[in-house]
């Protein structure tokens, strides 16, 4: 039955995360923007303080959960996007540093064996996909994994870039090919723990925004890892492309998360702007015909509508996951809409606020910078449109490039 009301448990989580966002993230938001890549100690302290009870609670209830603290209760994925919106409202860069909530953790959760899930529990795992020569073209991956039959170890070679949290994480899920000539089918993912010889973080990128979060380049040179670090059961591994597909599905699950980030940052900017405007006597009459508004009112209302659409599309995508319906199309819609809408909202807020918006004395300019990444990472807006188009047209990758 169509219902726009969140469950009480979800609302509770929303309140809790809002408190964290406001009490923990916001106060240090500018600091970690200025001190790019510095480890966010307040976050680690927070996670340490909150993890045990949260884990106990969800386990105690025996509900299915994605293993990540924020996805809990009777509608875990809805809860996840709701709470991620709150935390991103606090600070997206810091949110991305959340230990044990890396993309790698999602991948392990999605396709790892029970043994792997247990072995890597508590590790903050990043995901390494992109290579200098290949952006959205995952099939063009050139990093290799070769089995040494003598030691039964995998030997990883290659270079990865844009590894979110690659510097501060404990482990990296690396995508590498067993045989370049076999295309997608031969691409597998491997867990490499930090400290293994042969893995080197060669660069930490300076970025436009989300500066609290590190983005690393990592080189693998004859990096040896145990055989069992190939992600997934042997069956998954042998299913060829399906193996990659499983990890790719991570994105269906994480796209709503990124969309929630976008919405959270944009909401922060919009709220700030409205508060500033209200303090100077501006009002926002919702019932009026749009043509009877002034330019600022119209902008504000349009932005609110855009964010509402993004939020609803995203709740839908998350709610489908909760009820076990495949949501690739809807997740891409949510990500595409949220990434674009939020980026435009933060930009418009800076514009409306003028010198106040442009100044680093306030956070709006930072939100603009932070927000831009949401239209880029985990599939640019263009890639999402491509996914949507293929899906509604029933076209293959070859028919619509």
């Amino acid at each position: 039955m169509i219902d726009f009301e969140l469950k009480p448990e979800t609302k509770q989580l929303q309140q809790m995360t809002a408190a964290v966002a406001n009490g923990v993230f916001r106060p240090v938001s500018r600091y970690y923007d200025d001190h790019e890549h510095e480890k966010v100690k307040e976050l680690y302290a927070l996670v340490e303080s909150m993890t045990p009870p949260v884990r106990k609670e969800t386990e105690g209830e025996g509900k299915k959960r994605s293993g990540r603290g924020l996805a809990q209760g009777p509608e875990p994925n809805v809860a996840l996007v709701v709470s991620m919106e709150e935390l991103a409202w606090g600070d997206t860069g810091i949110l991305l540093c959340w230990p044990q909530r890396g993309l790698g953790n999602s991948a392990i959760e999605a396709v790892g064996t029970p043994e792997q899930k247990a072995r890597f529990a508590g590790k903050f795992a990043a995901m390494a996909i992109t290579e200098p020569g290949a952006g959205s073209d995952t099939a063009a991956i050139t990093s290799t994994a070769r089995l040494d039959p003598e030691t039964n170890e995998w030997i990883i070679n290659g270079e990865k870039i844009f590894v979110t949290s690659g510097y501060h994480c404990d482990a990296v899920v690396v995508w590498a090919t067993l045989d370049k000539s076999k295309g997608r089918a031969a691409i597998k993912s491997f867990v490499v723990e930090k400290g293994v010889p042969g893995m080197t973080v060669t660069k930490v990128e300076k970025k436009l925004g989300i500066r609290a979060s590190d983005t690393a380049a990592i080189v693998f040179e004859d990096c040896r890892i145990p055989y069992d670090n190939i992600l997934g059961s042997p069956e998954i591994q042998n299913r060829g492309e399906a193996g990659l597909g499983g990890v790719m599905k991570t994105f269906d699950a994480t796209r709503p998360g990124v969309a929630a980030m976008a919405i959270g940052v944009a909401r922060a900017a919009l709220e700030f702007t409205k508060t500033k405007l209200e303090s100077e006597g501006h009002t926002f009459p919702y019932g009026r015909s749009p043509l009877h508004l002034n330019a600022i009112q119209k902008s504000i209302l349009e932005m609110e509508a855009e964010l509402e659409v993004a939020r609803l599309l995203n709740l839908r995508a998350a709610s489908m996951l909760d009820t076990g319906i495949r949501n690739s199309l809807e997740a891409s819609m949510a990500k595409a809409k949220a990434g674009r809408a939020a980026t435009l909202v933060t930009q418009k807020c800076v514009e409306i606020l003028g010198p106040i918006g442009y100044s680093r004395e306030h956070l709006v300019e930072k939100w603009l910078r932070d927000c831009k990444i949401t239209d880029i990472f985990e599939g640019t807006g263009q890639i999402q449109m491509l996914i949507i188009a293929r899906s509604i047209l029933g076209f293959s990758r070859d028919m619509l490039k």
Binding site: K7, S289, P290, H292, L313, A336, L386, L393, F395, K401
Partner: protein
């Protein structure tokens, strides 16, 4: 809990409306547009679906099945997908029935509601729009002044549906007594009231199948007892919100019609040896339209859901109407653009949806569910 799936009842109503739209409205839509008529058989067929009688309590002759803005939104999306003009014509009685049902005094309900429970289409209507630039329903130029036992109405209205058939018109007007702004009144006016004149049928850019008329009120004297809700009056904003939610849902229907047609066309039309949908410029227009249509629907549903909960829906309905009107215009424009030259000729329906789709930014109060 957050849930975006229809329940069984809603699914049945959606199914029924979808089939009705496909079988009864689509086949005659173009002809009705070209000839600017809403055939009475169609109005009767829609009437038989019982949308009026179902909502009216048994003591007034109805079936008392309740009303839901959300269910209405689901239904009108489908009907508008079939044809917007015919849908608005067929649902026009609600413009009069709902305000009386919601806010009418008991005697008014007793007097009027049974008329909407008959077997044949009862042409109810309302006059809200005014022939002014930058029209805003919150600043009505038509006035109503209390004079003793009567009220006097003056002003000009336009886009009044079925004014040629309706015996009575529900007129929205601003009270002129005193300086303080007072709530808008809705007055039931007899078509034969001296001073009331109905102009020739309007010709518009679109909505041709919907018979619309200008109606002028020159000092029309009406008994004060004809003011809906008597002294208590009406909640004008709620009626506007009900209409905005419904118009938003209709915008989804029209946009979806255009989008579906363009999608099929783009898959079947070949150029340079491939379907034209293989070009990103075409494919991305389709993808964007699909995304926006889903977004529009969720906004429309949320406004309706809010109304069903009896919460203030002014913000939700206002944003939904604004957004859906804007996006509908974009989507129907894409429809024509994707068909190119073929979209510009009247052999394909996209040009009709292009014209009809442009009505949503203009109309207010013309669809209450």
């Amino acid at each position: 809990m957050a849930d975006f799936t229809l329940d069984e009842d809603q699914r049945q109503i959606q199914d029924m409306a979808r089939k009705f739209a496909a079988n009864e409205l689509r086949p005659i839509a173009r002809e009705c547009d070209e000839e600017a008529v809403a055939p009475s058989e169609v109005l009767d067929k829609v009437w038989e679906l019982g949308f009026c009688a179902n909502a009216i309590p048994e003591n007034y002759g109805g079936y008392d099945l309740g009303r839901s803005a959300l269910t209405s939104a689901i239904m009108v999306e489908e009907l508008a997908w079939g044809d917007l003009g015919l849908t608005m014509a067929a649902l026009s009685p609600l413009l009069m029935m709902v305000p009386i049902l919601e806010f009418g005094a008991d005697e008014q309900k007793e007097e009027w509601l049974p008329k909407f429970c008959g077997e044949r289409f009862f042409p109810g209507t309302a006059a809200i729009m005014e022939p002014r630039i930058v029209f805003d329903p919150l600043e009505l130029g038509t006035t109503v002044e209390t004079q003793g036992e009567n009220v006097v109405i003056s002003g000009k209205k336009c886009m009044v549906p079925l004014a040629d058939q309706a015996e009575h018109i529900l007129v929205y007007a601003s009270p002129r007594n005193g300086d303080a702004p007072q709530p808008v009144k809705a007055v039931i006016v007899d078509r034969n009231t001296p001073g009331l004149s109905i102009g020739p049928k309007e010709k518009n850019l679109g909505l041709n199948a919907l018979p619309l008329f200008p109606v002028a009120f020159d000092q029309c004297v009406v008994p004060a007892s004809r003011c809906v809700g008597r002294d208590r009056g009406i909640d004008y904003m709620k009626l506007l919100n009900l209409s905005r939610a419904n118009l938003s849902a209709m915008a989804v229907g029209v946009a979806r019609a255009s989008h579906e047609y363009a999608l099929t066309y783009a898959k079947e039309r070949f150029a340079f040896g491939e379907p034209i949908a293989c070009r990103q410029s075409i494919a991305f227009m389709l993808a964007e339209a699909a995304m926006e249509i889903d977004g529009m629907r969720l906004l429309a549903w949320r406004a309706a859901w809010r109304l069903d909960r009896n919460e203030d829906a002014t913000k939700d309905a206002g944003l939904a109407k604004m957004y859906c009107a804007e996006q509908a215009m974009k989507v129907v424009d894409y429809g024509v653009q994707i068909l190119g030259g073929h979209g510009y000729i009247r052999e394909h329906p996209v040009e009709m949806w292009f014209r009809n789709g442009r009505s949503f930014s203009i109309t207010e109060g013309l669809a209450i569910g």
